[in-house]
Amino acid sequence: MKAPGTALRWLAAAIVLANGCFPALWILATSFKSEVELTARPITYWPRDPVIANYVAAFRDQPLPTYLLNSAAVALLSMALSLTIASLAAYAIARLELPRRRLVLTGIVAVSMFPLVTLMVPLFDIMRGLGLLNTYWALVFPYAVLSLPVCTLVLVSFFQEIPRDLENAAMIDGCTRVGALFRVVVPLAAPGVFTAGTLAFVNSWDEFLLALSMNSAVAYRTLPVGIQMYQGEFSFPWPTISAALVIGMVPVVIVILLFQERVVSGLTAGGLKG
């Protein structure tokens, strides 16, 4: 697509930057403010007297590195599980002769139609019965199931775009269908795979309610739950919480950026483009 005029481009870019960064910049600015400045009138945007006390407090009041580690572990594990299972299922749906395909697809998507809150009490019961409470697995399995529908559908739409000839060529060369899946289809559908992966990762990272119930022990707490802990019965220390948020967002941003590169840089040398 031919690029629009430069001026328009820069304007558009400015809007995108403002839109995306504004709340994040606000969090960053707030993390350097003192509590009193928040309720000053007129309101200030940049901190008048920046302090780093909030970052100190963020680390001191809660074991932030532990929370980050737990969130990362749970997110990565559930992402891996989701992607693997979704790839297999998506291939079956996109490529193979499957009786009642529409039903299967609807069934998988239907999983997303139940708000998590309604499944929570029995799910807690199950995990408790299996003795999995306060372990990573209590969250990894539910999160993997939660992301399964969206990952599957994304992969289905990508697998469909890939011409069959490529797989057939691989199979003529002696590959099995499953082998073709992992050696030909998945690499070609890389943008889709990384997209699905990012979706699964962020879904897990964001989840709060289940994490609160299943992993209440400090050693296994995830980040959203951990950050809620800064909140007092009556108080909501924005500066400290902002500092914790900044620290908590850095890994996610890095992961997404890395994955994003793979999505956009197009690993599809030859196969699809032109």
């Binding site: 003192s34 509590e35 009193v36 309720t39 009138r41 929570m120 009490v121 807690f124 019961d125 408790r128 609160l212 119930s213 209440s216 022990a217 400090v218 809620q228 802990m229 909140q231 007092g232 019965e233 009556f234 108080s235 909501f236």
Partner: protein, 420 residues
């Protein structure tokens, strides 16, 4: 002093090895919210363990907000999980815990001592913790809503501490007119739809003698309720309270008073230390504490707050757990919590203790308020009642509903909640 006490305790424990068991220590898990000074609790448990070598107490710290604290307990207890043995519950919860069968009734363990044991606590708290004749929980921390006021401003204008809301409004308007500060609020109270808004609704209503539930049925007095809501609306209309009062939550009141922008504040006990000790406080040394004003022809009442020890009905070590909560309910422990954590005691005698008088002198003025505090409706469906009241109080203060419409919804929702 503490070390001496601990040494004595250890000595006593060593001296009483006659009954020591050779078996593994009993593991008890206690659950406390982040706001209840888990650090102090840990020290107290350490003292307990020193005095009771056969028992090990581990403390689990939960969310600081009462709501999240309760959500977690809801989940765990619905699943009949035996991991928690002992927990602190909010003063409004015992009825729900009793109905759900989550708390182990303690009367059996208190036996003949029950009367004398319970008589040391303030009557209001005993009533809130005794459901259907059973002692469900033991009071640990007390609290009440106080009227904080700017002593310096009242002195400057020669105004006495108001005894009625009308007086308060007049005094506030006079001071506001004199100070020429457009940001100075006459009174700050909770208008946001948080739990505090339940108290906002109840204070004038109770003052006039209204009640909510009697014998498991809705016993609502609309006229009194309308008068109460009308009183708050009047304050907003006359500029005594700020126009966006519906955005003010519990801590906002505290922060704004602390910044010197408020003459009268309706707030809980925790605010005092902030006013006097915070580095950025504009009101240190200028704060007075009084009973809340009354409605015309009514009496002064306050709203009860606080936390209580309960034993899980699913605990595998009930006798030991009950021992623990009995120990924690002793006056000595209450005194430690008052001195170290500025928590109001639930036992009248502790207020007179010299250590307490020295550490927190204002507790002396606080006692009448705490003793006169009333418990919010004691019912298994408290959450539903609370939601009905706080939500509708907020819509009235936001100007979205008339008091009449709001009261309709309150009645409807509570009636549905009480259905059998």
């Amino acid at each position: 002093m503490r070390r001496l006490a601990r040494a004595l305790a250890i000595a006593m424990a060593l001296g009483s090895t006659g009954t020591a068991q050779a078996a593994e220590p009993v593991q008890l898990h206690a659950y406390v919210g982040g706001q209840q000074r888990p650090d102090i609790m840990r020290e107290l448990f350490a003292e307990y363990m020193a005095a009771h070598p056969g028992v090990k107490v581990t403390l689990e710290v939960g969310a600081a907000s009462s709501d999240l604290h309760q959500k977690y307990l809801n989940m765990v207890l619905t699943a009949k999980d035996p991991t928690l043995d002992v927990f602190l519950i909010d003063i409004v919860r015992p009825a729900q815990f009793a109905a759900a069968g989550w708390a182990e009734p303690l009367d059996r363990y208190l036996g003949a001592e029950r009367e004398s044991f319970m008589s040391r606590f303030l009557p209001g708290y005993v009533a809130a913790d005794t459901i259907g004749g059973h002692v469900i929980a033991l009071p640990a921390l007390a609290d009440a809503l106080f009227l904080y006021y700017r002593k310096d401003l009242l002195d400057r204008y020669g105004a006495p501490v108001p005894a009625t809301w009308e007086e308060l409004a007049r005094t506030a308007r006079r001071i506001q007119a004199g100070e020429h500060d457009p940001q100075l609020q006459g009174v700050s109270f909770q208008g946001k739809a948080v739990e505090g808004a339940v108290c906002t609704f109840l204070l004038p209503y109770w003052s006039l003698g209204g009640e909510i539930i009697r014998d498991g049925r809705l016993s609502f007095d609309r006229a009194k309720a309308e008068a109460g809501l009308g009183m708050w609306l009047g304050l907003v209309r006359d500029g005594v309270a700020k126009a966006n009062i519906s955005e003010v939550a519990t801590d906002d009141t505290r922060k704004e008073f602390q910044a010197g922008k408020v003459i009268f504040a309706v707030a809980w006990g925790y605010a005092w230390n902030h006013f006097q000790q915070d580095a950025d406080s504009q009101v240190a040394g200028k704060v007075g504490v009084a009973r809340l004003p009354a409605m015309p022809g009514g009496e002064s009442v306050s709203c009860m707050g606080g936390w209580n020890w309960a034993v899980s009905a699913f605990s595998r070590h009930k006798p030991e757990a009950v021992e623990l909560v009995r120990w924690m309910a002793r006056p000595e422990v209450s005194r430690e919590l008052a001195v170290r954590g500025s928590f109001h005691p639930a036992q009248a005698a502790v207020y007179e203790d010299p250590q307490v008088r020295q550490a927190v002198p204002w507790f002396h003025d606080a006692l009448p308020v705490v003793a006169s505090a009333r418990a919010r409706p004691v019912t298994a469906v408290y959450k539903q009642v609370s939601d009905a009241i706080r939500i509708n109080t907020n819509t009235v203060l936001a100007g979205v509903k008339t008091p009449s419409e709001a009261l309709d919804e309150i009645e409807q929702r509570i009636a549905r909640a009480l259905r059998r």
